[in-house]
Amino acid sequence: MIRTYYDEMYDGAGQVRPHYREFARWLAETPPELLAQRRREADLLFHRAGITFTLYGDEQGTERLIPFDTIPRSIPASEWRIVERGCIQRVKALNMFLADLYHEQRIIKAGIIPAEQVLANEQYQLAMQGLDLHRDLYSHISGVDLVRDGDGTYYVLEDNLRTPSGVSYMLEDRKMMMRLFPELFAAQRIAPIDHYPNLLLDTLKSSSPLDNPSVVVLTPGRFNSAFFEHAFLAREMGVELVEGADLFVRDDRVFMRTTDGPKAVDVIYRRLDDAFLDPLAFNPDSMLGVPGLLAAYRCGNVVLANAIGTGVADDKSVYPFVTEMIRFYLDEEPILKNVPTFQCRKPDELSHVLANLPDLVVKETQGSGGYGMLVGPASTAAEIEAFRARIKAKPHAYIAQPTLCLSTCPTFVENGIAPRHIDLRPFVLSGKETRVVPGGLTRVALREGSLVVNSSQGGGTKDTWVVEE
């Protein structure tokens, strides 16, 4: 099968798209040696600054750089405005869904989502049932993963409502581009993003009913793969970066241990999964959490951002219903499209899936991070047959989607510049208002033909520009 890819920089006729013209002119004028030298400089600067991540399963805890590509991903402002509205709409509906799910469950009663899809879901937290949250907000920080298909249409690949990461790379990539190539920013209007930490702090503060709440960032610790980001955000916001052992609960209130005695904590931006938050309520073996935290939370004495139990809304088995949620709660037509999804639990869709396995991507509903997945076009006949047996045995545990073409963007590779597949994760902040900084994190699959953009799989990042035409 011949696939056509949408390229961000060049149109079908090989002409530079208007929003890339300025950049293309600059690229043509700049000597390749200078570009190569600046790329080395970027590597050195990232290394010096220790902007790294740690790979799990690596005994040495080796810190690695995420490859940074100096060709930006550029989005025309008019196009961005649609994406932005789409992301905001989606996150609003998802927050309303969560509030509904943990209260009246109108959407289930209306027959839009089958009860067993959500109530039997592992991510559904009984402890949240009936608990009122300030502003009815559950997912304060959300990441919406977008890809573009062959004709350039944006699709939402998945929603991330637990502890979406990557925003520090978005900010550091921009800093690096401005440092290396200031002339590019002088030549055209690129929307600024540096105020993200400010907006984040504002969002976290507005998640609490208190006037000036004390905010902290809770990290699993320095060995976590995203520790750099936790420390980065705490520093940029000017708040404490705490580990579980730094906090304790007394009389259903949360305190941190300081050199000046205990100090009250009102809002916790936690970068720790639900299961590790409180050993008394969840995983008793967790050394990372704070005993008694859930009790304090249920008393309304502390805000967790994001709330407990948001995972039920970004589960792959719930994903197919998000467009319906938007219609149900907002009475609006969805601005961003879902990837068409076949639910194997439905007999007619299952037979379609089984008949078309070589063309489909099949995912486990509970899986994440690329585990338990079949990419049909990239698999052998034997792998497909093995997977077929697994689907037949447990059809309700799988969904299937057509293999998307993922747009490409020119990228520096070994021998010059070549197109590589990319995605986009804008970060949506929900507080008093719902806001998105222009752009987001663009991840790029550096291996030729690869569609996997994860940093653990050799993916890199690019600066993301929203350009005024």
Partner: protein, 316 residues
């Protein structure tokens, strides 16, 4: 400030100061080992001094057996398997900095991170290729740079105080130990303390140079270095920045300026120590015997360290 944060800041600067002091010890021993040894062996004994002072000589013997110049130097300076090596100290300092990178400035973090990346390169090259004296100079320079970045960029808050606290506790301990060791090497303790032999001269001037106090010494005493003056300079002079008195004065002031009341035990110990040094004359110390006096004082510094730990740094 979070107790754990304070603890990481404190240990960051302690380890860095320790690395610097180890390099200073190594530097002086290395240059003395190159001197004619007038019947005192082949300089190996001198090279083993830093290990003796830091209490790692046994560890060395267990792993490497006989004294061997190159192995000794590598073990002390670059051995990642030796938790007390300069390499390990810089690694520990960098790990602590990593944990609190949100609380130190970018200049400080990039500086200490670059130091760590560099020493890994040096370890790959090996000491003999890099050069012994050059290595010691490099360690001192990195420590100076970091201190400069710290003083030049960080806010004057509790973070700054805990960083300095670590530096001065470590430095006080180091000055005491170095002085004790050199006093032993300088000759028979029964000899008059104004020992003027060439051997003693080199021992004392090497010590002064190791502590960057040679210029101060000549300016104050205008005399060849001897035990009495050196001891006075390094123990009691408040205007010599690596002296015990200078350290205790800093520690006392820093502790007094920390908020809260849970630090009282540490504050009292520090004030007592500072008062004791302020109102002691060198003759009293020598009457008691320098070695005996130092042996009494070293545990006091450790006690103070423990009190700081339980007052401020204990996280759980």
């Amino acid at each position: 400030m979070l107790s754990r944060t304070a603890s990481d800041l404190y240990w960051m600067s302690r380890y860095l100061e320790r690395a610097e002091n180890l390099a200073r010890m190594l530097d002086v021993s290395y240059s003395l080992s190159l001197m004619p040894q007038d019947g005192r062996g082949d300089g190996l004994h001198e090279l083993a001094m830093p290990l003796l002072i830091t209490g790692t000589l046994e560890d060395y013997h267990e792993r490497h057996g006989q004294l061997h110049a190159e192995r000794l130097l590598h073990f002390f300076a670059l051995d990642a398997a030796n938790p007390a090596s300069i390499y390990s100290c810089l690694g520990a300092a960098r790990a602590s900095a990593h944990a609190v990178r949100g609380r130190i400035t970018a200049d400080m973090w990039e500086n200490i991170n670059a130091t760590w990346l560099d020493i890994r390169d040096i370890a790959q090259q090996g000491l003999s290729r890099y050069g012994m004296s050059r290595f010691c100079e490099w360690v001192k320079e990195r420590s100076h740079l970091f201190r400069g970045a710290t003083y030049g960029t960080i806010m004057r808050n509790d973070a700054f105080r805990f960083i300095r606290l670590g530096t001065f506790i470590e430095r006080a301990d180091n000055t005491l130990r170095l002085l004790d060791a050199r006093y032993e090497m300088a000759g028979d303790r029964a000899e008059p303390v104004t020992d003027g032999t060439a051997h003693a001269y080199y021992q004392w001037s090497a010590l002064l140079r190791a502590l960057s106090s040679f210029e101060a010494y000549t300016e104050i005493y205008r005399d060849a270095p001897g035990a009495r003056q050196v001891a006075e300079l390094l123990l009691l002079r408040a205007d010599v920045p690596r002296s015990l008195r200078a350290c205790s004065e800093e520690i006392d002031q820093i502790l007094a300026s920390l908020p809260g009341i849970n630090g009282r035990p540490a504050q009292r110990l520090a004030a007592e120590m500072d008062a004791r040094l302020r109102f002691t004359a060198i003759d009293e110390i020598l009457e008691e015997g320098l070695h005996a006096w130092l042996t009494d004082f070293i545990p006091l510094v450790r006690q103070l360290g423990d009190a700081i730990y339980s007052s401020y740094l204990e996280a759980a």
